[in-house]
Amino acid sequence: MVKTGELKKIVSKWKDKEGNLIMVFHEIQNRYGYVPRDVSMKLSEMLDVPLARIYEVLTFYNYFDLKPPGKHTISICMGTACYLKGANELLKKFRDLLNVSEGETTQDGLFKLNVVRCLGCCGLAPVVTIDEDVYGKVQKEDIPDILAKYAVKEKNA
């Protein structure tokens, strides 16, 4: 998937610079939206840095993702207002339906489940966003229908 030639270019760009490990992986993260495992392995060889060290760095900074991002990002607001209006229950429902925990992406790669802080529209609490779409006053019974919209869209695409 990721071409060796491309990696070589990135490596040679940063090779002799201070802190090159982080910069190289920044570029990978930006380009692919995450750091694929096989890229880490290849770079470990090219840079002569043990994979152990690379993963220490990659997991130390929140900036890096090690799993491919989901096609659609679900953000459940856990700000005070939403929390008081039962956001926790929503999170539970999403978890059950998608069979993932927060921060994870579903097996089919369709959804990534995130928990976020106050989205600034507390009047609509509890709030859930999927990509750019905002859903307010969400009841947990609504969730299957909401998810279905995206799944159907995907099928027709």
Partner: protein
């Protein structure tokens, strides 16, 4: 400048030490104790835990004794109520992330954290308990990783990365979420881990320990259909005593035979006998290459499975130089199910062979390739480490002190001085040279003790004149040292130059098997030396000190194998190697 002396006081006692000595080391010279947790004698300080804090008189500042060098004129306070209070708080904080599982933990009774908690009289959880929910990793069936019990001391990562140069372990994430894991967040069995167990021998807590198989052995002993036999490796006899209060290096060979018979084994054998057989095969391999195929030298020893695993992953280009000999315990295993079974009219399928080893990687070795069952039965059924045997003896509650010494069961028990020094770095080389010299020249080596191959230096070199050829030997122990030696071979090959070494011995563990990953806890160089000394004095005490002079070995070849490297020997005692991926995913 280098030998500048430092004069200072520790707990009121004057000390004179070399510049650069840490406060902790200096205190030891005058027998003043300072509690430690993350620091290990083999490893540089990580200064991770803070329990070793001390003060300088007149200053409120606290210093970590394990990583602060002593300076001229310092007056160090190692104990006062405030220090005790601070140390207790540090301990309580560590315990707040640690499960209260001691009763069911693999380290119950010999955990460094538990001991400190006991010493400091911790009776309650003073801080809110915050446990991390982390999965256990038993994938290697050799060592178990229980990250929840990790106190992040850094000993295992240090050993695995710096001493062993394997890089199979590292810390991931940060802050409260920091956790120990196999490299790249996969399972250990998929990682570069070579199963040496050095991490488990250095971990202060129950976060990494040997995969316990004692129950399997009890079950077999209880089964009337099984004929249970056992063998002990060289290094076990000088290690096991430490579990029972004997001074390090005490040789308990004959008491151990008696002990194993009391526990219920019907045949008690000695791996040192098989080491003699290994030497016959390996020295013959060497002779062949030496006489007909010098280009194909060096010959590299293969009796350490962690080293074999390392080579298959990192140096597959060395496969052609590897001795094809199985390790001694596999050889003894296969002989027990063929030669011994035949001689005694026992159905080999009923024989249950237990290897008592200083080693965790031998648990992995017994299934590493199909040749490990070359007789049609597995050479070995279960491998127990010295520590596991210690527990079995405690469960049986038989006391060494009151046991008479007994003899092993022939025909697989009697060993020579050469066979028993296999347990220490340099020992395999010394034993092999004694026999190779005889095989090539027809004469006995005059001075059997080859001192240059002994001792704890990471890489040792020795030259032996065999028929006018200066045979150059190299010995490496501690996996991190082997690279230096093998790179020289690679270079010479590339440049088509003569090989810098003819014969190379490698053992993965620092000090060799006496410092094996399955040996009693608390290892350091002093202990390694004492254990090795126990083996060397066993050698000196033997009338027969060369493998080729072992009468039982001669009988084995005469009655069963024919001669070394015969077709039968090749089939039963040898094996093949293959390139293996460093990462399985």
């Amino acid at each position: 400048m280098k030998n500048k002396k430092i004069k200072a006081k520790i707990a009121g006692i004057e000390v004179n030490v070399k510049e650069g000595t840490t406060i902790l080391e200096a205190a030891k010279t005058v027998h003043i104790g300072i509690p430690t947790l993350c620091k290990h004698a083999d490893l540089p300080p990580t200064a991770g835990c803070g329990i070793c804090v001390v003060k300088i008189k007149g200053s409120p500042k606290m210093l970590r004794a394990c990583c602060t060098p002593l300076e001229n004129g310092m007056d160090i306070i190692t104990q006062d109520p405030e220090l005790v209070e601070v140390r207790r708080t540090i301990l309580e904080l560590i315990l707040s992330n640690h499960p209260n599982d001691c009763l069911k933990c693999g380290r119950n009774n010999n955990c460094e954290l538990q001991t400190l908690a006991g010493d400091f009289g911790i009776r309650e959880d003073s801080f809110e308990k915050l446990l991390r929910n982390l999965p256990e990793d038993k994938s290697t069936k050799t060592i178990e990783l229980i990250p929840q019990k990790c106190i992040l001391c850094g000993r295992c990562t240090n050993v695995c990365q710096q001493i062993q140069d394997v890089w199979a372990l590292s810390f991931l994430e940060r802050g409260f979420y920091t956790r120990i894991s196999a490299t790249g967040d996969i399972e250990l069995a998929e990682s570069p881990c070579i199963k040496c167990g050095q991490c488990s021998a250095h971990c202060p807590t129950g976060a990494i320990f040997e995969y316990d198989e004692t129950q399997k052995v009890w079950d077999a002993l209880m089964d009337p259909d099984r004929f249970c036999v056992v063998q002990i490796a060289p290094a076990v006899r000088v290690g096991i005593g430490e579990e029972f209060g004997y001074p390090p290096g005490t040789n308990l060979t004959h008491k151990l035979y008696a002990m194993l018979k009391r526990i219920g084994f019907r045949g008690v054998f000695d791996t040192s006998f098989a080491a003699d057989v290994t030497i016959m095969e390996e020295a013959t391999e060497f002779k062949r290459k030496f006489e007909k195929d010098k280009k194909n030298l060096p010959l590299i020893t293969s009796c350490c499975p962690a080293w074999v695993d390392f080579m298959e992953k990192y140096y597959p280009d060395m496969i052609e130089h590897f001795s094809s000999c199985k390790s001694p315990h596999q050889i003894l295993g296969v002989l027990s199910k063929t030669y011994y079974a035949e001689k005694n009219g026992i159905d080999p399928s009923k024989i249950f062979m237990v290897s008592i080893m200083p080693c965790t990687s031998k648990k992995y070795e017994i299934t590493r390739s199909s040749e490990m069952s070359s007789s049609g039965y597995p050479d070995i059924d279960v491998v127990l480490t010295t520590r596991e045997l210690g527990r079995m003896i405690k469960q049986a509650d038989i006391r060494f002190k009151h046991l008479p010494g007994e003899d092993p069961d022939n025909i697989l028990g009697e060993y020579t001085g050469a066979g028993v020094i296999f347990g220490t770095t340099g020992g395999v080389m010394e034993a092999a040279l004694r026999t190779a010299y005889k095989m090539i020249t027809g004469e006995k080596l005059k001075d059997l003790e080859i001192k240059k191959v002994r001792g704890l230096k990471g890489i040792k070199e020795a030259t032996l004149d065999i028929k006018g050829t200066k045979v150059k030997a190299a010995i490496a122990h501690g996996m991190g040292n082997v690279g230096t030696v093998l790179e020289k071979i690679r270079e010479a090959k590339k440049a088509k130059k003569e090989t810098p070494y003819h014969f190379i011995e490698v053992m993965a563990c620092p000090g060799g098997c006496v410092g094996g990953g399955g040996q009693p806890y608390g290892v350091n160089n002093e202990l390694r030396q004492k254990r090795a000394a126990g083996l060397y004095s066993d050698d000196r005490g033997h009338k027969v000190r060369c493998s080729h002079d072992n009468p039982y070995v001669k009988e084995l070849y005469k009655k069963f194998l024919g001669k070394p490297l015969s077709e039968k020997a090749e089939k039963l005692l040898h094996n093949k190697y293959k390139k293996r991926p460093v990462y399985k995913r």
